[in-house]
Symmetry: C2
Subunit: 216 residues, 2 copies
């Protein structure tokens, strides 16, 4: 499969590495053609790797992964022509964290809206699937870093797209995947960030996750 990964930060690198390791081709997209981070990544990625602009990566990918900083994801996606996303799965792993008002960050979109929904509204022909945004990027691609049972959430409007992404999550090693429903449920998972950030500080590790415990 060909993936376009938007974003050259730690999340983009981690997911790109994993996708390449699983045998996929990955084009890592950045704001400019000259991203130092993307070039460094490319040197390690081997023949399955490519780099380019956000638009290049979106054009290349059969599946797109939004790993840009959530508070700026819409700006980044606006650098991509809508037609490059139409009909494609767009996996949104970002959280709209805004540190401009101090730490810990708040959310730049939340409550009656979410980043996932905003992207779906702006790109109505893309199949936005929100997932992986509730764990650290190293846990995203290696859930075994957290011991025992714990849950990954997924939501989106297109059931076939969610099935495809669920299969990818299983390749990553995820065992318990909770489908919350349509993309409006992105509100619920993005709003896990405030407690995630505080637990990160308290636990002193990013290797943790939520488990929903019930007898249901």
């Amino acid at each position: 499969m060909k993936y376009g990964v938007l974003g050259t930060g730690q999340v983009g690198q981690e997911l790109s590495n994993k996708l390449v390791a699983l045998g996929n081709e990955v084009c890592m997209g950045s704001r400019s053609q000259d991203s130092k981070e993307a070039k460094t990544w490319l040197e390690r990625a081997g023949e399955k790797g490519k780099i380019g602009t956000f638009a290049d990566a979106a054009r290349f990918g059969e599946i797109i992964v939004n790993c840009t900083q959530g508070a700026h994801s819409l700006e980044a996606l606006r650098l991509v022509a809508k037609k490059e996303l139409n009909g494609k799965i767009l996996i949104d792993v970002a959280n709209p964290l805004d540190s401009s008002r101090g730490m810990p960050p708040v959310l730049s979109i939340c409550n009656a809206d979410s980043l996932g929904e905003s992207i779906q509204r702006e790109f109505p022909e893309a199949k936005v699937v929100k997932t992986l945004n509730t764990v650290n990027c190293r846990v995203m691609t290696d859930p075994g870093r957290v011991p025992g049972d714990h849950d990954m959430f997924i939501c989106g409007n297109d059931d076939t797209a969610k099935k495809t992404v669920t299969a990818l999550l299983r390749e990553f090693g995820w065992k318990s995947i909770v489908d919350l429903g349509d993309i409006t449920n992105a509100r619920a998972t993005e709003q896990l960030m405030p407690i995630w950030i505080r637990l990160w500080g308290k636990l002193g590790t990013a290797d943790f996750n939520f488990r929903i415990v019930s007898d249901a």
Copy 2:
């Protein structure tokens, strides 16, 4: 101990029953002196029970428990003279859920603020402790309804107050109690409501809770 429980709904009744069962005296406060729910509760509560206005309950209690509807808690608390709360522990178990814009509800305060913080700001001499707001009221008082290990969060500015409330939580049966820090952490737990509500619908039971899984 004497408790003033503000609110006659399911949460107020559940907590009042438990507090009485543990041997405490409870005055259940309502907006009016003529609350039918409070009178019905009193008939079952026996000699340890009392009813009155919010102000009566606050005056009676050595510890106050806010079980009013979160979106209206500040209005309810404003019916109580500040001096009735000064120096007292005020356990805030409410969530500021606003269903006026449809279901599922959104939060009437969130992100850069929270109900817990708002109460603490308005009643600076009260010792606000936020806890129990992340589970259904039947789980609040009987955590064994959810099998296995799961977590209760607590936060507040006063460490001694948190110790007292932690001891009460242990009497309720809570084993894992995570102190997140000061009252600003109420943002984090109140923002668990969006996913809590969706999981409630999905699981078909309110007998569930969050567990934080890590190797820390």
